[in-house]
Symmetry: C2
Subunit: 371 residues, 2 copies
Amino acid sequence: MTHSGPEVVDPASVETPIGCVDLERARANAKRVVAYLDRHGLGWRPHIKTHKSRLVARIQLDAGARGLTVATLREAEVMGSLTDDLLLAYPPVGDAKLQRLLRLPAEIDLKVALDSVEVLEPLARAAAQAGRTIGVLVEQDVGLGRVGLQSAEAVADLARRTRDLPGVSFRGIMFYPGHIRMAESQQGAHIEGVSSSVSRTLAALRSDALEPEIVSGGSTPTLWRSHEVSGLTEIRSGSCIYNDREALAVGVADADDLAYTVLATVVSTAVPGHAVVDAGSKAVSKEARGDGEGYGFLLEHPEVVVAGLSEEHGVLDIGASEWRPRIGERVRIVPNHVCVSVNLQDRVLAIDAGQYRWMALEGRGRGAWVD
Amino acid sequence: MTHSGPEVVDPASVETPIGCVDLERARANAKRVVAYLDRHGLGWRPHIKTHKSRLVARIQLDAGARGLTVATLREAEVMGSLTDDLLLAYPPVGDAKLQRLLRLPAEIDLKVALDSVEVLEPLARAAAQAGRTIGVLVEQDVGLGRVGLQSAEAVADLARRTRDLPGVSFRGIMFYPGHIRMAESQQGAHIEGVSSSVSRTLAALRSDALEPEIVSGGSTPTLWRSHEVSGLTEIRSGSCIYNDREALAVGVADADDLAYTVLATVVSTAVPGHAVVDAGSKAVSKEARGDGEGYGFLLEHPEVVVAGLSEEHGVLDIGASEWRPRIGERVRIVPNHVCVSVNLQDRVLAIDAGQYRWMALEGRGRGAWVD
């Protein structure tokens, strides 16, 4: 598949800062994930929050993804014409969101993740009124402490509740073991903990004849060890399509797997030891990794760290580099966290087979998508 | 002046997360800044990066702002029809940006801040070719160490260089004493340092018959002490139109001066001690203030801190609060840094005289603005 966007763009004529995507690398990343999962009989329902692009979602589906995961209704609307298998990995709360959810095409096998009866019951009521049945994945907390029920019994209780309600059907469980900064030495114990937590839940469900068709997990640091989680049927991992500084740091990707950068231009070298580029927190996103680690690094000069970010200024620490930047020179920044940087772009410049074209981010924003 | 947007909106029908602006508070904030500056004979050329809205820029101009400051060409294009006094407080580097700059209406008295001959010379060439004269503010570093020339002599050298070049004229100097986290006890010494640095520069310029018409400074923590900087003619302070958690922390604003919040809905209470809302880093922005201080607080329950942010999840620490959130309940988050949160909104909900209406953020994004 090649990029089907409009005309070829000369990157030298493009204003910076601008997010750039390498589609060949994205395709290779998708293939590698699917090959790994195929070996272990697991499915991929990638979270498209990372890229928000229909073109990249098609790459994932062409590579063998079984469906797509979305976080917002805008994302669901945009991706709804690409697949009939959608997971909204987010509780839809409030009538406006429920009505919007139920306006998605009827042919979509729609699943929703939730962790409370307060979300389940209005969803079931609205779905029944609309003459639809929405699949439910009950969300369990496996240690991150963000959302999710706290015990196997609580998961089974909520799953059981779906039996009494028209408009919903129990499809399985979802969890997010996203302990991002975990050291490699801790991963074994972490996976064992997740595994035993999930096993207890599966046992509790089966003892009540609630067979989960979907057991959905997956996290970045343990991406290649997903098969060690017993009972898992699929992962949702999304950022592996592009990767970022975090993925390099936790060892799940190499520099050759980086498919997203922010193209920036050097605008000032007036302060000794620094160079300033025109990509700031409104292009890179100021997502800290830890004290003094900065917000990204340069693809061409990995020793150069983005030490500071103002809104439109990125301060490059060139103290550890032989590189002496010139004003007007262009650099490519690998952000700490790719998803939040992509979200800041109006559109991105995609390279494929040596040619650059504009690529839309249709899933970005919150308004209703009209195709 | 009242809001001239389209129809009145019922906020209960609006999906969250959504940025909200209180226009009456914004007007009061603008008046307070102008009243202070009037007492000291100083001007206000507010940086519109905070709000990116024509309506709010009009509030600032109606209150008495002498012009507007912008950071991007999009912002310049959007604001160019509201005032004939624009400062691009950012070096325009590269032909695409220069051509775009020179397409701004000829009647605008356009000024550009820069700190190098590498930016000055192409600007002068392009302006001369376009038959225009662009004003130059030479940027000086007064201690922040981001951009700006390092000495009075370097400023005078670059100012002198403008004399030889058609297309540009020296108009003054600019500096940004943005030492955001400075304690109040340090402010006196800080202002003295800035003052003496600026005084040396003014002396160096005047010794060469380069009289700066504009001496542009201003920063959030020292907003109400701007008059103590000798030689200052104006400030550019922008975030004071809305204020944020940072402004409260450094003592330049009270809770009653907060004019921007992110409206969010509680979506999960499954994890003890926490509640989760649907405003994450893609609505609030994950801009850290310091270890363990979180990313914002609730307007209605100031003791509740946004302890964590994922992309679409905000984790509220309710451990110090009597408040027991219900799923579906709405809250208003005051972000650490208002500018980056506003930049994440497609549009905002503005309240004025008790009525809500949508307000556009025309200056957001990077594409060319077509009126």
